[in-house]
Symmetry: C2
Subunit: 315 residues, 2 copies
């Protein structure tokens, strides 16, 4: 039934080149990506997934770099996914992959990958979820997903991790707006980076004030606020202590979150597949004709979708 597959075998063996190939396959949504994930899936579920998000410029990459050093010191291996949303128009990164994490470049226990989004419907979140599975199957003890930005797509990705760090810094994330993007509620640990800068204590106070509004879950976890200076390696051990403290909680909360993650993922996959099927079954040019009719105000969008649905039903 299942012929030998060098990529599959290589991922299970933790081979970096096979991991890179496998992630490319799921990122590009290649024809065999579903099959590859299907084979790897039974070997997943062991990695602990940490999401790291925050506004641009707060120092997330440096923080992840320093955190990786601490994790490596405990003997655990690390996979890092840097999510890099790119244009819906070109599908390409604007300034190319950043050169980063050079401290770990020679370390076989660390695998680093940048991900870009392709297309619209849940592409980035889906590809990221699959890449996490690849790193999980490859035996990485920790998978760190770093997202640039504070928008809904980033919140969606990070909120389904086993734990989420939300990073602020004075000047970059100290205003009320930054705290409104759904981010206060997904944070398991807050990090105030660049803590030597003026205004750091104000950021801590602002987070504390909005935490007072937060309803604490049934497991009574109150997100701590950790001050760091990642570039000088200050506060990283304290941050690691909080991560470990969160990770040692009873497994109930973690299992609930994983179930939510799978449920979101199934809905997203389902919606992609259903739309693909309808578009495949429509008469050629029909979708574009409906778009023209809507753009020309002959048909409203809801009426147009009704027609598409009827077409899908009859097939």
């Amino acid at each position: 039934m299942k012929p030998p597959d060098p990529i599959y075998e290589g991922v299970l063996a933790g081979d970096a080149r096979a991991i890179a190939r496998a992630i490319s396959i799921v990122e590009n949504h290649d024809a065999n990506s579903a099959q590859l994930i299907g084979r790897l899936y039974p070997r997943t579920g062991r990695a602990y997934v940490v999401g790291v998000t925050g506004a641009p410029g707060v120092g997330k990459s440096t923080l992840v770099d320093r955190l990786t050093t601490v994790v490596r010191r405990t003997g655990s291996s690390v996979g890092i996914i840097a999510v890099d949303p790119t244009s819906p128009f070109t599908g390409g990164a604007v300034l190319g992959d950043r050169v980063r994490m050079s401290a770990h470049a020679a370390d076989e226990g660390v695998f680093i990958r940048s991900m870009a989004t392709r297309g619209h419907l849940g592409g980035l979140a889906g590809a990221t979820a699959d890449a996490i599975l690849v790193l999980d199957a490859a035996g990485k003890d920790f998978v760190i997903v770093e997202t640039v930005g504070v928008g809904q797509a980033e919140v969606d990705i990070v909120s389904t991790a086993d734990m989420s760090l939300v990073v602020f810094a004075p000047g970059a994330g100290d205003d009320v707006q930054a705290m409104k993007a759904g981010i206060m509620e997904i944070a398991d640990v807050f990090v105030v980076n660049k803590a030597d800068r003026e205004g750091a204590d104000h950021v801590v106070q602002t987070i504390g004030a909005s935490l007072a509004l937060k309803t604490v879950g049934p497991d009574d976890w109150r997100p701590p606020i950790v001050k760091t200076e990642a570039t000088r390696d200050v506060g990283i051990d304290a941050l690691w202590t909080e991560i470990e403290r969160f990770r040692q909680r009873p497994p109930q909360a973690r299992d609930d979150r994983r179930r939510t993650r799978e449920s979101t993922r199934l809905r997203r996959l389902l919606s992609q597949r259903l739309v693909e099927r309808v578009e495949r079954e429509l008469p050629p040019g029909e979708f574009d004709r409906l778009v023209e009719a809507v753009a020309g105000r002959e048909l409203d969008p809801y009426a147009a979708v009704d027609r598409l649905m009827r077409g899908a039903q009859q097939s």
Copy 2:
């Protein structure tokens, strides 16, 4: 066929309370929201939609406020939608609606509304698109959509406007990461706000450098970079000049963009409706059973979706 509908009539008359009610209806996805949009739709297509986005803290709200003053001076009316992504968990805004735009609170030619996201599948973008239609039908000459954040969801919303302003500020958006979120390619005009601050010229140079990498469209529009100090009302007239210059271009580019907008919107609506139909037709509890099987590693996500698709096919 169509009974008198006070909300529909009120929107067409530009009545603020009717507009507010109509937006609530589309935001909450009420049963009659599709019908309301269907009736309003033939009366839309006149408003010019301007998207404003950028990282938190760059001063977007103040900029929109000052811009509104300039637009009002020309005699045009303005509708403003402030998109406020909130938690996927609670569906509620964390810190409540901000008190803002007080300068225009008493002006009947200005309608201001904050939008929050509800649920996952394209909820925010869909509700925003419908709210734009309501303001368009209500006769607003300009609709300004301000999004907090720089993530994919915000890019999706703003990239379908008739024109997009991307706002930076020294310290908040002057790093390379901020420029990578697909934002360089959706900008029709760049604004460097807080231009009196140290580093403003560096931001202008960085934008200029990455613009050099940008492919110019067939209409040869090169996005200008405008320096503003919104709090002191500096540069707003220059910004308005650029907006008008963009708006006066031949209609071809604008029509293409509107077609793209309608196409994206149809796909999104279609995907929502298809998923709703499948979930409705599944045996009770079936979806949750599949989620459990996936969470328990008995079934991989792609195999689970195959089963859902087969269920949908048979119905």
